[in-house]
């Protein structure tokens, strides 16, 4: 099924080099207090992930608990609208409503095999927090989720879900009180609890080996896409794969098994917020510069003095001032094309999908949908769009948009 790839000296798109670099991005820029934890993971993650017993349990939970494989759905009316062929990879149909559960299952199983008793996580929109709290409930593990005070306010239903699942939700009150600060708090917690705790990072960010580990856990998305497309189209390879990018985990998973097929064009969609040059945006490749954030070198939105800035997006899951090092490399090397969609375009795209296909997408996924317009797709093109999550959590935002449109 999945091959064990042992680290070699030269990184590839699918695998960073032994120091965690994809091209010039990655590494493990961590204080010494995190070294033993990160080193332990680095030494053991590949070995554990590809043990037979691990794979058996992981595949079992993906199948029977998360509900995988998720369907590859030909969106006929949407296709007609764009005069092309568009498939939706239905990650929204996963248990807990997004792709985040793939990684949460993987990392919690890994933590158990490392003998950890306590799980911590950061969350922005709350989807990763809910996914982690869910798997911790399933496995009877203590779960602490850090969430920016501001995000707790704007994502109250997910806070309630996490609490019902038995997790402790702690507010991050420093800095801008959002995802970036929740990540800082989670890292501090890990520093203070070096022995019994595993930190489940929710995207392909953080120090090596996290970006690689999370990409591998999410790679099931493209593994299934290939099989499903073969059945439907007689070929494994689409012309385009489109996904939204916050930190980049659903995109990494959707791109993964196509990375070495240059025929497949990869399209990553960032959140432009109120517009790239509005000062209220989260389009990291457009606005960021190389820098170090949360333990890796990547593209980071920052002031000329190197202070990390607070981004803006209507979608809390894309409201992050960085992207994973793999994506910075895909951008720099030109392997993926980076587009962006504004708050308004994404809202419109969400309503359009709902009307055309009867699917209410997450606001994050709506950014990928909004980019279709910019792509000049041909009638003969086959596109797979990663519908990373469902829109239940965004209903309040959608209702507000409906009211103001009336």
């Amino acid at each position: 099924m999945i091959n064990i790839v042992t680290p070699n000296n030269k990184g590839t798109y699918k695998q960073p080099d032994i120091f965690g670099y994809y091209g010039s991005f990655g590494g493990a820029y961590i204080p010494e207090m995190l070294h033993s934890n990160v080193e332990e993971l680095k030494e053991k993650y590949l070995q554990i992930m590809y043990e037979e017993s691990f794979q058996k349990e992981f595949q079992h939970l993906l199948h029977d608990y998360a509900g995988r494989p998720t369907p590859l759905f030909l969106a006929e009316r949407l296709s007609k609208q764009f005069n092309t062929k568009i498939y939706l990879k239905r990650e929204d149909l996963n248990h807990t409503g997004a792709h985040k559960i793939n990684n949460a299952i993987g990392q919690v199983l890994l933590a158990l095999r490392l003998g950890k008793k306590r799980i911590i996580a950061e969350t922005g929109a709350g989807q990763h927090g809910v996914a982690t709290a869910t798997v911790c409930a399933l496995k009877g593990l203590e779960c602490i989720v850090y969430m920016g005070e501001v995000d707790m306010e704007r994502q109250q239903p997910n806070v309630a879900r996490m609490r019902m699942l038995g997790a402790t939700v702690l507010p991050a009150t420093s800095g801008s009180k959002t995802l970036k600060d929740a990540t800082n708090e989670a890292i501090r917690d890990w520093i203070n609890n070096p022995n019994d705790t595993h930190y489940v990072i929710g995207s392909v960010v953080g120090p090596h080996p996290y970006p690689d580990m999370v990409a591998r856990f999410q790679s099931v998305i493209s593994e299934e896409m290939k099989k499903q497309l073969k059945e439907k189209e007689g070929t494994e390879l689409p012309d385009y794969v489109v996904a939204c990018v916050g930190g980049g985990s659903n995109a990494a998973g959707a791109f993964y098994h196509f990375l070495d097929d240059p025929k497949v064009q990869l399209v990553a969609v960032e959140a432009a917020g109120c517009g790239i040059n509005s000062g209220m945006s989260a389009a990291t490749t457009q606005l960021g510069k190389p820098g170090v954030l949360h333990g890796s070198k990547s593209l980071v939105m920052q002031t000329p003095d190197g202070q990390v800035v607070e981004p803006h997006s209507i979608s809390a899951g894309l409201d992050y001032p960085g992207i994973g090092p793999l994506h910075a490399h895909l951008y720099e090397s030109g392997r993926a094309k980076f587009l962006s969609a504004t708050d308004k375009e994404s809202l419109d795209a969400a309503f359009n999908l709902t009307k055309m296909e009867g699917i209410i997408p997450a606001l994050e996924s709506a950014h990928a949908l909004a980019a279709l317009k910019q792509m000049k797709l041909k009638p003969t093109d086959v596109t797979i769009l990663c519908l990373s999550g469902r829109g239940d959590k965004d209903l309040a935002t959608y209702m507000k948009a409906m009211e103001s449109n009336q």
């Binding site: 820029y29 070294h35 800095g175 170090v292 202070q307």
Partner: protein, 256 residues
Amino acid sequence: MNRLEELFQRKKEKILNVYCTAGFPELDSTLTVMKALQDNGADIIELGMPYSDPLADGPVIQASGTRALQNGMTIEKLFAQLQDCRKEIYIPIILMGYMNPVLQYGFERFCQHAAAIPVDGLILPDLPEHEFETEYGPIIKRYGLDFIFLVTPETSEERIKKLDELSTGFLYAVSSSSTTGKQQDFDAVEKYLQRLQGMNLKNPVLVGFGIKDKQSFETACKHASGAIIGTAYIKNIESAQDIKAGTKAFLQPIIG
């Protein structure tokens, strides 16, 4: 011989390093604080360069950094403030900060400007040893700056030896795997320091994190060359009306 080497040759015990955040409590109080520290018995000044996301620091130091940033502090302004400081500050100065602002300033330009003050050493907790060895260490050396690595109770003996080998000036022993400002279990700390003491390290060891008063300072100094006070001092000048008097009141009981 730089000021750090000179200090460690002259003084073998109870070396007091005090951390303060540049641009805190006011933008232009940096020098006042440094002068007050020197006048009241500090042997080394560790000057923190504020950063929006200081992973290795606790809430008190982070809050002081946030305030410094609100005051408008930047590396550019810090070097301007330090320009003539050697007219009155003769004790060693170490700059402590995080990679990202230094990278944006330009790593080499940063070292060049630090050496021009001159500053004596650097602490960049998120600069890993691989990147230090392959990329940044040679630049730091070229400008004659010391570079100080951190070790923790979780650091393996082999790794402590390696980090000691790479460090110049001193080795920074974090007294427990914790961000600054946390309370410590001093029995465990003592065992750890004894272990370090028995290792015949090349560099003197200074103990950081969790030192707040005479008793914790003395305990740390039993098995190390000295200690670093950060959070407790920041708390002190945060609330002090007068930086000079506050610093005096805080440091005298500790060194007295």
